[in-house]
């Protein structure tokens, strides 16, 4: 699904060069739920942006779903994002001027579907996050947890194979965070691959695979899922 080999990302400004990722290699299989942890500034968002085709990388190789993405132009990258990737952001990134229906509609608009095709998809997505009754509300009329659910509905509405979340619970209290986490787990169980950056050690521990980044490199990997599957294979 996702195959990064020796990815380096260097940010150059007039004064400094920041090596945000260094020889970063990671392979994520279809259906996995991977959490990424690490101190602030270690390169988590950089990794996620490269994985989600929001940014290019300086060197290395990255294949998404078997496609080498470094060769793609801006237009193709946008199309690929739209078709294959769903994004969830820390601060939700909903359009404040659009109601929930129109918000969830945004990625579908870029897919060239007819209104009659989009409507059932939007309704289903909002239903799956428990907000079907609020389609005409504005984001500002919802709580933080509800807003993040709308964002999840927006990420899911186009049925992407791959969900990328950058601290999706970072702006939520722990109870709400738990609800969002459970929702993501359900989504993962239905087959969507998820990579989630989080600060929350507790949430990270629940995932089947946790990657800890330090200073732009993978420092430690806990593959609970891997271990249990190899254990069952042994058994």
């Amino acid at each position: 699904m996702l195959e990064m080999i020796d990815i380096c990302k260097v940010y150059r400004t007039d004064l400094v060069q920041t090596h945000a990722l260094r020889d970063f290699s990671l392979s994520v299989q279809e259906g996995e739920f991977v959490t990424i942890t690490g101190p602030s500034g270690c390169g988590k968002t950089t990794f996620l942006n490269i994985a989600g085709l929001l940014e290019t990388y300086t060197s290395g190789s990255y294949q998404l779903d078997g496609v080498e993405v470094s060769q793609l132009n801006d237009f193709k990258r946008a199309r690929l994002r739209n078709e294959k990737i769903g994004f969830i952001f820390q601060s939700f990134n909903l359009m404040p001027d659009l109601n929930l229906f129109d918000n969830v509609d945004v990625p579908l608009r870029y897919r060239g579907l007819k209104a009659s095709e989009r409507k059932p998809l939007i309704e289903k997505a909002l239903e799956s996050v428990g907000l079907a009754g609020r389609m005409k509300h504005l984001p500002s009329q919802l709580s933080g947890g509800q807003q993040q659910r709308v964002a999840i509905a927006r990420a899911l509405v186009g049925s992407p194979r791959f969900l990328l979340a950058d601290e999706p619970t970072g702006n939520l209290d722990s109870n709400t965070a738990r609800g969002v986490m459970e929702l993501l787990q359900e989504i993962n169980e239905l087959g969507t691959t998820i990579v989630m950056v989080t600060h929350d050690q507790e949430l990270a521990r629940e995932s089947r695979r946790n990657i800890h980044i330090l200073d732009g490199q993978i420092h430690e990997e806990n593959g609970r899922g891997e271990m249990s599957s190899s254990a069952s294979a042994v058994a």
Binding site: G52, R81, R109
Partner: protein, 404 residues
């Protein structure tokens, strides 16, 4: 297309959009009416006077002293002028066409002072008048020297023949051809009879913006009052040289008179239309300024609203919007604002046009001014929004995760 969401999002941020729409409406109202006024003035200014203006000039001679005999002086002056190489012809004339000053009268076809008369400019000149002014005689004939009448303050003798313009024929004789009115008589105020001997194609009244326009009559008369005005036509290209020479010759001919007010017809025209040209220049500046301000307003609003939504744009890009799709979003947004402004502007434009027509004696604006103006403003709006929208389209998708 995302017409629905763009429109609904716009409604939630009305204020800026509303101000710009109002600005567009105001700009449209003023510029369309201003352009109409400019075109109308230009049309009036461009109407031909019927004269060979570029080769004509006029000069005035005023005699003083008891011995001054205008009758003799004028005859000598004109004979000399007509013999001078470089001069085609010369005539006495009471009023200068296009100059803004002259005489008018009212003529009738029946001798009844109580019936309505037709207003016309009246030019008093001699048998060389038609040739000097280079008028186009389309029917009948010119006066002869024997038709000439000299009028003294004590006992006026009116000429009994006239050459009239086609426009005067059309006002007096409904539907008759110029050749058919030859020999007809007109009654002057007081009952004097004047017979039409010729018709010229065109000669503007001295007041080109008056109701008379091209209603003029020419009569073979000269007032003997110590005041003579000569109109002189030169060979093409000789005017400036002849002006200097004629002034010198007339001055040299005697001490009992002053020679003054020499002016080329082109200068006379420029003076008459000075206010109109100034008006059109001012209106052009107003139109240009308003368009520039309008553009700046549109650019300002676009830049402001795009900067405010940087993160939204990044998010759209992250969710799969291509650069052309972002560009299209903001151009459409501008289009909606402009269309709202233009719709209101169309109403205001027509309202102002009606006010101008009814209160300031302006002709009615042609129907196509408003739609053409609307189209222009939409085009200007799109062009103004193009720069900011292109910048918005260049927004990096990484903004979605980077800025808080």
């Amino acid at each position: 297309m995302e017409i629905g969401p763009i429109f609904r999002a716009l409604l939630r941020n009305k204020l800026g959009a509303l101000l710009i729409a109002l600005q567009i409406a105001f700009t449209m109202t003023v510029i369309i009416n201003a352009v109409f006024i400019i075109n109308e003035r230009n049309r009036l200014m461009a109407r031909p006077s019927g004269l060979d203006e570029s080769n004509l000039f006029h000069i005035t001679v005023i005699g003083f002293g008891d011995d001054y005999n205008e009758e003799i002086v004028a005859a000598d002056d004109l004979a000399m002028l007509r013999q001078t190489p470089g001069i085609v012809d010369a005539t006495v004339i009471n009023a200068i066409p296009v100059s803004g000053g002259g005489s008018s009268t009212g003529v009738r076809l029946i001798n009844d002072e109580t019936s309505p008369s037709t207003g016309t400019a009246i030019y008093r000149l001699d048998e060389h008048g038609l040739n000097t002014l280079n008028l186009d005689l389309i029917a009948g004939e010119n006066f002869t020297a024997t038709d000439m009448r000299l009028r003294y303050e004590s006992g006026p003798t009116e000429a009994d023949k006239a050459v009239v313009t086609r426009a005067l024929v059309e006002s007096l004789f409904d539907g008759m051809a110029p050749a058919d009115v030859l020999g007809e008589v007109m009654y002057m105020p007081g009952g004097d009879v004047v017979q039409i001997v010729g018709v010229v194609d065109r000669l503007q009244a001295p007041w080109p913006t008056s109701q008379l326009v091209e209603r003029s009559m020419l009569v073979p008369e000269n007032y003997i009052d110590s005041f003579s005005r000569y109109m002189i036509r030169t060979e093409p290209g000789q005017r400036d040289r002849m002006m200097a020479e004629v002034e010198r010759m007339l001055v040299e001919r005697g001490q009992d008179r002053v020679v003054r007010d020499m002016e080329a017809m082109e200068v006379t025209r420029a003076n008459t239309y000075r206010v109109d040209s100034a008006l059109t220049t001012i209106l052009r500046v107003v139109v240009a300024t308003l368009i520039v301000i309008n553009c700046m307003g549109i650019v300002g609003l676009a830049v402001f609203s795009i900067n405010r939504r940087k993160k939204q744009i990044g998010t759209r890009r992250a969710l799969g919007a291509t650069r052309p799709e972002i560009l299209r979003y903001f151009l459409l947004e501008n289009l909606f604002i402009t269309i709202a402004g233009v719709a209101l502007g169309a109403v205001l434009t027509i309202a102002l046009s009606i006010v101008l027509t009814t209160n300031f004696n302006m002709p009615t604006m042609a129907w196509y001014y408003t739609p053409l103006g609307a189209l222009l403003l939409i085009l200007v709006g799109q062009l103004s929004a193009l720069g900011p929208s292109a910048r918005a389209a260049g927004t990096e998708p990484a903004i979605a995760t980077r800025s808080v």
